[in-house]
Each structure stands twice: as structure tokens, then as C-alpha cells.
């Protein structure tokens, strides 16, 4: 983990139950411009393989790691100078912390913790900031998406249109070699 990056730590992954939601956490982090994801909890080689495949194709610089426990990556992030942010409905509203979080992300970098099942009470104290995206229980994927989008914006997003022309209506496949760049994507001139 490098200063100035925004990383995501998925805590307490359960290999059977959480496979799809954890995949959403990892792929959304990648698409919305995070610098990497650390998965903790059950080891899940199938999940790591599919996310690694996506990483190699779309975001080669994206960090992807597994750590059995959540404490070790939190310690490493702290040593690297990153601030620890825990997304929880029991935290303080994102709206009121936004400017500070943006400044922290730029100057130090962030490690954003999202839980799978019930989060150990210790996490609430280990975090520098407990941050809420609403006080309702809804979806760690949705909460993370709102946070990453507020921090990194449209400019931070990854990906260019593949074999399909972005269209308001209909779906039009393009022949190979005729794939236009999208403004803001790597390799475009704008």
C-alpha cells in the first residue's frame, strides 16, 4: 500500500456465502478507481483467480492481496501513513467528513474497511474514522461505491468501451480495430 492511494479491505469474507458480494466489492473498487483491494477472511482461490483475471485485463496496477486476518493489513497501512476509514451505519455521516476525507486521501492515502458479516467491536476502535453512508443497513457495495465516487470522481474511473459502441439506445457491436477511445480513459488524448 502506497501513500496517496485509496485501498479497500474486505473483512471477514465467507467463502460460500459472500462470494458474489465480495466479487462486487473488488470489481467496483477497481472500476471506480481505488488503488487496490485486500481480501481477508476465508481463503477463496476461485474468487482471487476471477478478480485477478479482471485486474490483469483492465487495471494492471491494481493491488490485489489476501490476508487471513484484518489486523495485519491495518497495521501495514498505518505504518505506510494511511488513514483507516471504516464504513458503518454507526459512523458519522459522510457528508460532514467529505472535505477532510478528500484531503486525507490526497495527502496520506486511505484504507477503507468494509465488513461481510457482523464486524468485531474492535474494528470500530481500530479505525481512525467510522463513516456512515446513511444510518440504514443496506449494502457495503453501495456504501463503498458512494464513498469512492465522492473521493475519486468520474475522473478516477477506469475502463474504456470494449467491443460495443456506447449508445443511448440499442446495442451495436463494433468490428475489431474500430473501438473509439473514451475521454478520460488511458490512451485518449483529451
Amino acid at each position: 500500500m502506497m501513500p496517496g492511494g485509496v485501498y479497500v479491505l474486505r473483512m471477514g469474507h465467507r467463502a460460500g456465502r459472500d462470494k458474489r458480494v465480495t466479487t462486487h466489492v473488488a470489481l467496483a473498487s477497481m472500476a471506480l478507481g481505488a488503488s487496490g483491494v485486500i481480501l481477508s477472511g476465508d481463503e477463496d482461490p476461485g474468487l482471487m483467480e476471477s478478480v485477478t483475471k479482471a485486474r490483469d485485463r483492465w487495471a494492471p496496477g491494481f493491488l490485489l492481496e489476501y490476508s487471513k486476518g484484518w489486523r495485519e493489513p491495518v497495521e501495514r497501512a498505518r505504518e505506510a501513513g494511511l488513514a483507516i476509514v471504516h464504513l458503518t451505519m454507526y459512523g458519522v455521516e459522510l457528508e460532514f467528513l467529505l472535505e477532510g476525507l478528500r484531503a486525507l486521501a490526497r495527502s496520506r492515502g486511505l484504507l477503507v474497511l468494509v465488513g461481510a458479516g457482523k464486524v468485531p467491536r474492535e474494528v470500530y476502535s481500530a479505525a481512525d474514522l467510522n463513516v456512515a453512508v446513511t444510518h440504514l443497513p443496506h449494502s457495503e457495495v453501495a456504501a463503498l461505491a458512494v464513498l469512492l465516487h465522492e473521493l475519486l470522481g468520474f475522473r478516477g474511473q477506469r475502463g474504456s468501451p470494449g467491443p460495443v459502441l456506447p449508445q443511448l439506445r440499442g446495442k451495436l457491436a463494433l468490428p475489431r480495430g474500430a473501438r473509439p477511445p473514451v475521454p478520460g480513459s488511458p490512451g485518449s488524448s483529451s
Copy 2:
């Protein structure tokens, strides 16, 4: 569906495979301020029951419906004057449509379509607008969260802190009767 609201249509729900992700779609829509969710695909009484319970508790006015197919709710929305927006990586970037979408949401209302498995080609033509939150395949929950947040903002969010005091650090349960209102939540004076 009423003009001026933002509704979500979850298409193609598969009762076994999609239970958790569809639950995230519904609860995130509720928390982030949508006016309602229509579930289509497999009938899933357990899912409807748990989301209905959340609705009754936190968002009594939130519309919750089931429709076997996706065409019927799309037709109804169209008759009510709503614009049909389909979230897909093959659409046009949200960034470029944002002002128009906000104006459409206010003046006419929107029905936002999100798929579960592969979306029938017909959906791409049935929608007024195909909108992309990045061109990578990631998570319909994340894409929907970004769209709803851009349309409805922090002011549209639902929910007030329950039995826990929002805290930057630690987790502190409150006694009953000592639950402070949060700015912007119903019942607060600010």
C-alpha cells in the same frame, strides 16, 4: 409509479443465485432515496418479506412490487410519463448525461433498470437512455448507488441513527429515549 419519483426495476431475479445481491439492490435504493423498487423475474417470497419488513420500519412510503416480467412495469412507467433508464456498461457515460438526467428526474421521474444475469437485447432498445457507470463489468449495486447518489444527493438519503450514537471512533450504545436526531432526517428541525 408517480411522476417525479426515481424508481428501480430489478430485472431477471433468480431466486437462488441472486437473493443477496437483489436484497442489496432493494435496500440500497431505499437508503439512497429512491421512491420504490419493482422486482421482476423469479417470485421470491422470502426476499419480498425481508425487504417489506425493512420498508415498513424505515421508509413507509417506499413502493415495493413484484412483476413476473420486466415489460409490464416498463409500460406502466412510460404511461405515467417516466423516462426509462437502463444501467449498462454499454451505455453512454453518466458524466455526460448527468444534467439531463437530473432534469428528467425532477420533471418526469425515472424508472432505472438493472439486470441480474445477461440482459435481453430488447432492453437496450426499450430504454430511452442506456447509461454507463464505467465501461467495466463490476456491480449493478455499485452502479445504481453512484447513479442514485448523483441524482438524489445526501439530502435524498433516508434513515436516522438508531440505538447507537454516530461516532468517529468506537461504538457506543445509547439508552432508549436518548437517541438524537440527525440533521436532514425526518423529524429534525434543521
